[in-house]
C-alpha cells in the first residue's frame, strides 16, 4: 500500500495559509475550460453554474476565429480568474513566447504550460516541458505544467520550482477518465506537499469525483461540460461531484474487504439457534 495518505490529509486540514497555491482553491476545486461550447452565452452560463476556481483561456491570431472579442467580454463578466494556456505549442521557444504574451494580455503570472510532443494523442513532450518550465520560473512565472502521470517527470517539475503539477487522466478530449489510477495514486503518495490537479481526459462527473477521492487537489476539464447535451446542467453536476469527492477524501474512506461483512448486528438474529 502506498504511504503518505494520512499525512497529506493532515497537512491540508491544518494549513490555514492562503498564499499561492492554496489561494487558487479557496472557493472551488474545479477548473473549467472555455472552448467548444455551443455558444459563448452557454459558456458563460456554464461558468456561472460551475463556479470554478479558474477558467482556462488561450491566445490565438487576431481575427482567426470570429467572436473573440465577445468571448473575452463574457469571460470577464463572470469575474472568475483566468489561467492562460500555451495550447498548440510544440517547442520550448513557442511556449515561452506565448506565456510571455499571455502575461501581458491577461495580467497574470500563472500559466498552464503545454508543450505537445505527439500530435496523435497530444501527449506532452516531457523534455521540452521541463526546459520551458525551468526558464519560465526563472522569469517569474507561476507554472502549472500539463504533464503525463510519470512520477520522475513530475518530481523534476517540482524540483524546477512548480508548486502545482497537472498530470493527465487520459488524452485531451478523450473523456476516458483516469486510465492509470495506480500512477495517479503513486503521484499523490510521493508528492504529498505538491498541489496536484488531474487535467484532461475527464469525461463524466464520476471521473472527477474519483480523482478527488484519490486526494487530488482539483480537476481541470473542458470537453465533458462543453460537449454535453446540456452544458449548464453538466457544469452543475461537476461542481457537486468535485465537492463530493473532496469531502469523501477528507472524511477518510473505509478499507475495502475481500469478503462480505454484515452491517446489521448478528447478535439477536431471529430464528437462529445454536445447534
Amino acid at each position: 500500500m502506498l504511504n503518505g495518505h494520512n499525512d497529506t490529509i493532515k497537512n491540508k486540514i491544518e494549513s490555514s495559509e492562503m498564499s499561492y497555491p492554496q489561494s487558487l482553491f479557496k472557493n472551488s476545486r474545479l477548473l473549467l475550460g472555455t472552448a467548444q461550447y455551443p455558444s459563448p452565452k452557454l459558456m458563460q452560463q456554464a461558468i456561472n453554474t460551475a463556479q470554478p476556481a479558474m477558467v482556462t483561456v488561450s491566445l490565438r491570431r487576431q481575427g482567426s476565429i470570429a467572436g473573440g472579442a465577445e468571448f473575452w467580454d463574457l469571460v470577464k463578466q463572470t469575474g472568475v480568474p483566468v489561467l492562460p494556456n500555451t495550447a498548440g505549442c510544440r517547442t520550448v521557444k513557442e511556449a515561452i513566447t506565448v506565456a510571455q504574451m499571455s502575461r501581458e494580455v491577461f495580467a497574470t503570472e500563472l500559466v498552464k504550460l503545454e508543450v505537445t510532443g505527439d500530435d496523435y494523442n497530444l501527449q506532452p513532450d516531457p523534455f521540452a516541458l521541463l526546459e520551458a518550465t525551468t526558464e519560465l520560473i526563472n522569469q517569474g512565472f507561476k507554472v502549472l505544467p500539463y504533464s503525463t502521470d510519470d512520477l520522475v517527470l513530475c518530481q523534476r517539475l517540482v524540483e524546477a520550482g512548480c508548486q502545482v503539477v497537472m498530470p493527465w487522466g487520459a488524452p485531451i478530449g478523450s473523456g476516458k477518465g483516469l486510465l492509470n489510477p495506480y500512477a495517479l495514486k503513486t503521484l499523490r503518495a510521493r508528492l504529498p506537499d505538491v498541489h496536484l490537479i488531474v487535467d484532461a481526459g475527464i469525461g463524466s462527473p464520476s471521473h472527477a469525483c474519483q480523482a478527488m477521492e484519490l486526494g487530488f487537489d482539483a480537476v481541470l476539464l473542458n470537453t465533458a461540460v462543453s460537449q454535453a447535451a446540456d452544458p449548464v446542467r453538466m457544469a452543475g453536476a461537476f461542481r457537486q461531484a468535485v465537492q463530493a469527492g473532496r469531502d469523501a477524501y477528507l472524511a477518510g474512506q473505509m478499507q475495502s474487504r475481500e469478503t462480505a461483512s454484515p452491517s446489521t448486528p448478528v447478535l439477536g438474529t431471529p430464528f437462529w439457534q445454536q445447534s
Binding site: 475550460g33 472555455t34 472552448a35 467548444q36 461550447y37 459558456m43 482556462t56 483561456v57 488561450s58 491566445l59 490565438r60 491570431r61 487576431q62 481575427g63 482567426s64 476565429i65 473573440g68 472579442a69 468571448f71 473575452w72 469571460v75 492562460p84 494556456n85 495550447a87 521557444k93 513557442e94 513566447t97 506565448v98 510571455q100 504574451m101 499571455s102 501581458e104 494580455v105 491577461f106 485531451i172 478530449g173 473542458n222 470537453t223
Partner: protein, 65 residues
Amino acid sequence: MQIRFNGELIHTEHHSLDAFLVSMVDTKQAFAVSVNGDFVAKQNYQHTTLHEGSQIDVLSPMQGG
C-alpha cells in the same frame, strides 16, 4: 517591403512596429505581439523596427481548454 503578418505574406510601407500595428490591428481588442517568434512588450513597440521578411504575430484572447 514584404512581411508575414499572422501567417500571411503582405506588403507594408511601415518600418516601425508601432505604426504597423496602428494600421493593421484591432486595437480595441486586447492583444500581444511577437516579432520573429520573440515577444515584444508594449513599451517596446515604438523602438522595434520591421525588416524585409519579418514575421509578426498578433494574438488576442480566445477560448481554451
